[in-house]
């Protein structure tokens, strides 16, 4: 079943040197699956995520044939209607918890606010639900955490709190924009397995934006590889190492390997033709 259908999405920004096209004609669909978008910085992967939630502000321009959520085109919605979509239908977890949590509100206040914006729950109901959510993201000592401020939390805890906040309205789709790149390797796995189990239990669709190819192979079902605003390759995550596009191969080969030492690392040679080839469709 298709939850989200994006067709021919363009994101443009006017600059002094003319129009800059950050995303150039990207199409894909998302079912109840874990879809990864990978690419280097500047390839347009985060912009794709933001464009879906209509978070790109003027002077940025978003055009698309359609961005439809369960058959309803989001592009035709007013700003007020979009506010009901954000959070309730589609949630987004940002990269760095340090910049995404309000530093002058306690964790509890923030989670309760997020919940009550989308439901008519009373304060005590919201409090109970918040504790429950913190438990779901394996935070111990929830009552203390509810009273604490963001600076008292470690990076891993902050990110888990963000996830708890995003999941509390029970969205259909979760967009995770590099949710673990600010975290340690050991904490990374923990956060990922939490996202994974929540996605499976609730049957959500997940868009996982990342630059880490190894992570994506283990964690996702399908991968879109982006280069210069376009999708250059679509493949199953478990077949990523068999990828055919020279860009994907180049990215994979440039990683140092723990068990396969090389004298020198392979360097990516960029072919100018890659950025002119039309975008490959990620639709099923």
């Amino acid at each position: 079943m298709t939850l989200l259908d994006v067709k021919d999405l363009w994101v443009k920004f006017p600059t002094h040197q003319g129009l800059f096209e950050a995303v150039r004609g990207v199409s894909f669909t998302l079912g109840r699956e874990r879809l990864a978008i990978v690419g280097e910085s500047g390839s347009g992967k985060s912009m794709t995520g933001r464009a879906i939630l209509r978070l790109i502000r003027p002077p940025g321009v978003v055009t698309a044939d359609r961005i439809s959520l369960e058959g309803v085109n989001l592009l035709h919605k007013t700003e007020r209607e979009m506010r009901d979509v954000r959070g309730q239908k589609i949630s987004m977890v940002m990269q760095d918890p340090k910049f995404s949590l309000n530093p002058v509100m306690t964790i509890g206040q923030q989670i309760i606010e997020a919940y009550r914006l989308h439901s008519n729950a009373t304060k005590s109901e919201a409090y109970e639900k918040s504790i429950e959510m913190l438990e779901a993201v394996s935070i111990r000592d929830q009552k203390r955490v509810m009273r604490a401020y963001p600076h008292e939390m470690s990076g891993g805890m902050g990110q888990r709190i963000m996830i708890a906040m995003m999941l509390i309205p029970d969205p259909e789709i979760l967009i995770a924009d590099e949710p673990t790149s600010a975290l340690d390797v050991s904490v990374q796995r923990q956060v990922l397995s939490i996202i994974d189990s929540l996605v499976k239990e609730r049957g959500m669709g997940l868009i996982f934006i990342s630059h880490d190819l190894n992570l994506v192979t283990d964690f996702c079902d399908r991968v879109l590889i982006m280069y210069a605003g376009r999708i250059v390759e679509v493949c199953d995550a478990k077949n990523l190492h068999k990828a055919k596009h020279p860009y994907t191969q180049g990215l994979l080969n440039s990683l140092p390997k723990l068990h396969d030492p090389q004298k020198r690392l392979e360097v990516l040679n960029r072919d100018p033709a890659w950025s002119t080839v039309a975008s490959i469709s990620g639709r099923i």
């Binding site: 050991s186 190819l213 723990l258 360097v267």
Partner: protein, 244 residues
Amino acid sequence: MLKIENLNVWFGSGRDRVNAVQNANFAVKSGASFGLVGESGSGKSTILRAIMGLTKNWSGKVYVDGTQTSIKKHNSFYKTVQMVFQDPYASLHPRHSVDQVLGETLYLHGFQDIDARVVHLLDDVGLEAKFRFRYPHQLSGGQRQRVAIARALAPEPKVLLLDEPTSALDVSVQAEILNLLSDLRSRNSLTYIMVSHDLAVVSHMCESLAVMKDSEIVEIMDVSTLRNSKACHPYSQQLLLASI
């Protein structure tokens, strides 16, 4: 080349005292490359900062090239040891051009032929001459890290302390920078101490490494030991599992 004995580093005092590094001991031979791995907050960067003199509260002994260094550093120390920082976006002055950054460093170290040396340094780190009068915001992350490496190389040091030099960069750019660092090491016979949380990067760059946890070094081993999964300490094994 570099030896550390009973290094302790702390922050704060009284009940707020935090022991960031406790009883660290290791030695690095001349021309070798030594890695420090561990999770954030384990004290690996703090060790580098203490060696460099960026943190004043430390005790123990640090020997560089056979001579013991004190907390107050002499200029000659900075001719021997230099550091490259994690974030190339934060470690370059936004209103100094590449030429100013390198020129000032060379001037402070008392070089006369600054102009020729700037050209030479840029060439060393693989930057074309056109980058010389650019500002940091006109450079990509990889190019900025190359400038930061050029700045560290300016006083012709023997030891480079690398604090996560590639963790802010894309994998494709990381490969270029790691290759550059390997080339520079063999060309200038440098000694590296590299901090990273990425075991694959450390195993690529270094011959031996120390694993840190909760401000203590729990294990020092060769990279071959790591590759054959023969790490002894349970935390090293856990780290190894997490990175496969």
